[in-house]
């Protein structure tokens, strides 16, 4: 006598799968780990106490932001776009003594960035982004890649090809150091406004 073949009802399978799918759709969060990377200087205690560095005024590109998010570039109020600021920094870094008022070499050039304790993080990131954009544009032009590609390859230096392009872009010197270091100095904020 033939036994009845047991069957699982599969009409509801799609419903179950949909339920699970909805659960994972809701709980999933696409990892967003992107941002502006910087390296902080060593703690003040680690530096020699009598350290005095003399920097020529022409080698400094000063950006200041007050607690009302107003920008001062090289001492003058600035109301232009961030793209214009980027091209000004680029011009300043790649001056090579052509303008006596501007930087001597990219190695000497320093972008000094000072904020107030009341400056908003949004403005800070916006201006820091403009500074890094200037350097990244210089690097990517030298390496002959797009800025987007440059950012990708500098995030993954384990790859020897990336490393090679990275060294070309920054102009790595045989005796150590680089030709165009990203000299962005973020000073400790002032306490004029805000808390």
């Amino acid at each position: 006598m033939p036994r009845p073949v047991p069957e699982i009802p599969n009409a509801s399978m799609a419903d179950i799968a949909f339920l699970l799918l909805t659960f994972f759709l809701v709980t999933t969060n696409v990892a967003n780990d992107k941002g502006l990377s910087i390296q902080l200087p060593p703690p003040p205690e680690a530096l020699p106490q009598d350290l005095e560095i003399k920097i020529q005024e022409r080698n400094l590109f000063k950006i200041q932001i007050n607690s009302f998010d107003n920008i001062l570039v090289e001492g003058d109020p600035y109301s232009g776009t961030m793209t214009e600021l980027t091209s000004r920094i680029k011009k300043f870094v790649m001056n090579y003594k052509s303008d006596p008022e501007s930087s001597d070499t990219p190695k000497d050039a320093i972008v000094s960035f000072k904020t107030d304790r009341g400056t908003s993080h949004k403005k800070f990131v916006g201006v820091l982004d403009a500074c890094q954009a200037a350097y990244n544009e210089i690097y990517s032009e030298r390496a002959g890649v797009t800025v987007k590609r440059w950012l990708e390859l500098s995030s993954d230096l384990g790859d020897p090809d990336n490393r090679k392009l990275y060294d070309i872009g920054r102009g790595r010197l045989p005796e150590g150091g680089v030709e165009i270091p990203m000299n962005i100095s973020i000073a400790e904020p002032t306490k004029v406004g805000g808390k």
Partner: protein, 154 residues
């Protein structure tokens, strides 16, 4: 009028027999990509926008620090606070937290640890600078200001 009735003869059913397969495929995709969040964030997180974004190469070397206005303003006030793991901390506790995070890593990787700062757009530089001073003391000097992508200005 009779002319219009003719198109009813075309079969219009969508084949549904492959639907479970399609749904399962989507399900597996989301199951693989999903990662359940370990901490619930208790501060406002409207991240700023930037263009020069870099990715973090290794997730295991990242420690997260959140700064922003607390979501429960009646309990914690409106001043931006620092959150790590599941608790609010003061700037002076940052060193201790960094040491805890470093202890989780292998010894040779400790100096490569990156602190991902997820800071709300409206937070002020003052509190961030306080945290940065402590991070410098704790020798965790690689920082990532977490930001969202923005289309380049035209």
């Amino acid at each position: 009028m009779a002319k219009f009735k003719k198109k009813a003869a075309v079969k219009q059913d969508i084949p549904t027999s492959s639907m479970p397969d399609v749904v399962f495929m989507l399900l597996f995709f989301f199951m693989v990509t999903t990662q359940l969040r370990e901490t619930s964030i208790n501060v406002k997180q409207q991240l700023p926008q930037a263009t020069q974004l870099k990715k973090l190469a290794r997730k295991s070397l990242v420690a997260y620090l959140y700064i922003g206005e607390p979501k429960k303003t009646d309990e914690w006030g409106k001043e931006p606070k620092i959150q790590v793991n599941d608790v609010f901390i003061e700037p002076k506790d940052v060193i201790q937290w960094v040491n805890q995070e470093k202890a989780k890593l292998n010894e040779f990787e400790r100096d490569q640890m990156t602190v991902s700062m997820k800071v709300d757009s409206d937070a002020k530089r003052g509190i961030i600078a306080d945290v940065e001073t402590e991070l410098r003391k704790a020798n965790a000097r690689l920082i990532l200001y977490s930001s969202l992508a923005r289309k380049a200005e035209n």
